[in-house]
Assembly symmetry: C2
Homo-oligomer: 113 residues x 2
C-alpha cells in the first residue's frame, strides 16, 4: 500500500475519511496486514483514492476518499477490514482519531492538475 | 508551527480543510513564513486545531479544523495569509490539493481520549 502522492478525485461533493494516528513501537504484523487490507480497500465500490503520510515519530495522517457515505459504511463492515480494525486497536495504534467528512469544495495549485 | 499530535475538536458538525502538498526543493523562506502565518492562523476566530505531517520526500498532509465555513472564508481573505498563499504558489509547492469539508462524524481509539 505504498502511497507517494495525490488522490485524483472528481468534482465535489464526495466523502473523505480522515484517519490521524500514532503508531505503537514495532511492526506487530502491521505491514503484512496493510498490504492485504490496502489491496482490498481499493476494491470497495465507491473508493476514489487515498493520500497518506507518516513521519519518523510514528504520527500519520491518511485520507481516503469515497463516492458517498454508504461506501464508507460498507467498508467499515467488511469482514477482513473488521479484523484489521480489531488488531489496530489492540496492537498498532496508541491513539487515533477518525473523522468522516463531506467534501464540499476543492481546489488544486499552483496551476491545476 | 511545530505539530506533533492530535487536534482536540468538539462534537461534529464542524469543518476541516485538507491541504495535501508536495514541496519544492529548498526552504525559499518557507520556515520563516510558516512561523508567522502559523501563529496568525491560531488567532483566526473559529480555528479549532490542526494536524500536520510531511515525509522525507516533501509530501505532506495538513488538516486544519474550524468551527464553521465562514471562519475558513475569513482566513483565506486574511491579508498576511494572502501573501503566503501567493508565495506558496510561486515557490513552495510543486503541487497541492485543498479540500473543504464538513465533518459529520468522529471517533477516537483505542479507548477514546
Amino acid at each position: 500500500m505504498a502511497q507517494t502522492g495525490f488522490a485524483v478525485t472528481p468534482e465535489p461533493p464526495y466523502y473523505a475519511v480522515i484517519f490521524s494516528s500514532k503508531r505503537t513501537e514495532g511492526d506487530n504484523g502491521y505491514d503484512a496486514m496493510m498490504e492485504i487490507v490496502g489491496e482490498l480497500s481499493v476494491e470497495q465500490p465507491g473508493y476514489l483514492g487515498r493520500e497518506s503520510v507518516r513521519d519518523a515519530d510514528g504520527f500519520g495522517i491518511t485520507v481516503v476518499y469515497y463516492k458517498d457515505e454508504a461506501s464508507i459504511v460498507a467498508w467499515k463492515a467488511n469482514e477482513k477490514h473488521m479484523v484489521a480494525q480489531k488488531v489496530g486497536k489492540e496492537r498498532w495504534y496508541s491513539h487515533y482519531e477518525m473523522r468522516v467528512c463531506k467534501v464540499e469544495r476543492a481546489y488544486a495549485g499552483p496551476e491545476g492538475r
